[in-house]
């Protein structure tokens, strides 16, 4: 009985802690990369994404109908996010531990392009409008 109470208290504490911590962790993550991570240079749309412990920004908004390049920047990235996977394009690419990698994804229709790391736990998405 005592054990039950103790374990319930511990789990409640952990769940509470998780909520507090994840709230704290998510806010700065969203601010690291500014919203205007999409630029158009010489008629090509470049979407910058930082890959390290996940992808930032998680969600980008871009224009549909333009030739598009995803530019992943890594710095000391050893986790899953150095393996980019976009299932709908059948694309898998490993990024260098530190550097910048351009991936040409061509012209996209209006819609949401979903990508994730090679093992599936870090997602990102690009909303083409």
């Amino acid at each position: 009985m005592k054990l039950t109470i103790v374990s319930i208290i511990i789990s409640v504490g952990l769940i509470g802690g998780a909520i507090v911590l994840s709230r704290g962790a998510l806010v700065p993550n969203g601010n690291i990369v500014p919203e205007n991570n999409v630029s158009i240079v010489n008629g090509k749309q470049i979407i910058q994404i930082q890959a390290r412990g996940g992808y930032q920004p998680r969600r980008s908004t871009a224009k549909a109908g333009l030739p598009t390049i995803l530019r992943f920047s890594t710095s000391g990235t050893f986790d899953c996010s150095s393996f980019v996977r976009i299932p709908s394009l059948g694309m898998s690419k490993s990024l260098p531990q530190t550097g910048s990698t351009d991936i040409d994804i061509g012209v996209n229709q209006v819609g949401v392009l979903q990508g994730m790391c090679g093992m599936g736990m870090y997602p990102f998405e690009i909303n083409f409008q």
């Binding site: 789990s11 710095s75 050893f78 986790d79 599936g120």
Partner: protein, 339 residues
Amino acid sequence: MKTYTFHVQGMHCHACILLTESELEEVSYVTKAKSSLSNHTVEILGEFGDKSQDMIAEELSQVLIKHGYSLSVEREEKIKNWSDFKIAIPIALGFAVLFVVLQKIGLVNLVGTNSVSYGTAFVIGIIASLSTCMAVVGGLLLSMSATFAREGDKVKPQILFHVGRIISFFILGGVIGALGSAFTLNTSATFILGIIIGLVMLVLGINLLDTFHWAKKFQPSMPKFIAKYAHGVSKLNHALTPFLVGIATFFLPCGFTQSMQLYTLTTGSFIKGGLTMLAFALGTLPILALISFSSFSIKNSSKAGIFFKTAGLVVIMFAIFNILNSLVIVGVIPPLFNF
């Protein structure tokens, strides 16, 4: 000559059939013993004289007790110990929350350097063992060691797993360094491995709960004919399996392991490559050792039931996590987790 049928408690694997049969046939007055895994019974033909069936059950139980089996005339209602779940569920949930918290606090960002020394590789190993790789390697290890521990084999399989893992990381790391080409999993291999690992863990996890007996039929264990060659005792199963699984962890889908392998590729030498992967494997050792040896510390205590149910629940959660992630990378379902 008479034939009696007894119910066997503790019979859970193909090797158990051979073990119970061979042990019972050693008894002087037993002519033939035939065990059945599906209904947990043994049919015994022999000269029992005027002993009652209860007496025989008691006598023969003495023979089998050292292997953890006992015989009874009446089918003993399995005590399911549902009350264990009252404690196991909160602990397992707490563990799951701890796992999520570890991912959320951004441990992966602690690796700040761009050059990889052996020390860095060690630190990356520690971080990897706390990352989502825990769901794959840790989950597989927990399911395996808890399963072995329940069958009474506590220390040796765990040690063999770690020995296999460390040796393979050094040698295969060295090979990658020397050859200059890394073994990388493509998406379909990651998917297939992820699904297989997920399913194996799911079955082992359900078995650890010791609640749903139909799942035992699916338990991946040695086919009976191989067991027979292995002297009727599951020696092979308990030694070779963990060793091979330890070696195989080199190839398991884990972002950190694969990144380290890609780095090792650039070292260009057997020794440097081998030592880098060795340092990485040693970094993962403390947490993995904690996982595998947690099961033997608790085996004989009264809390064993709680431990195995907790382990089962954690393994099932990791199994589902792996299966869902595998479905995500092939695009069957949209990303669910957001670490």
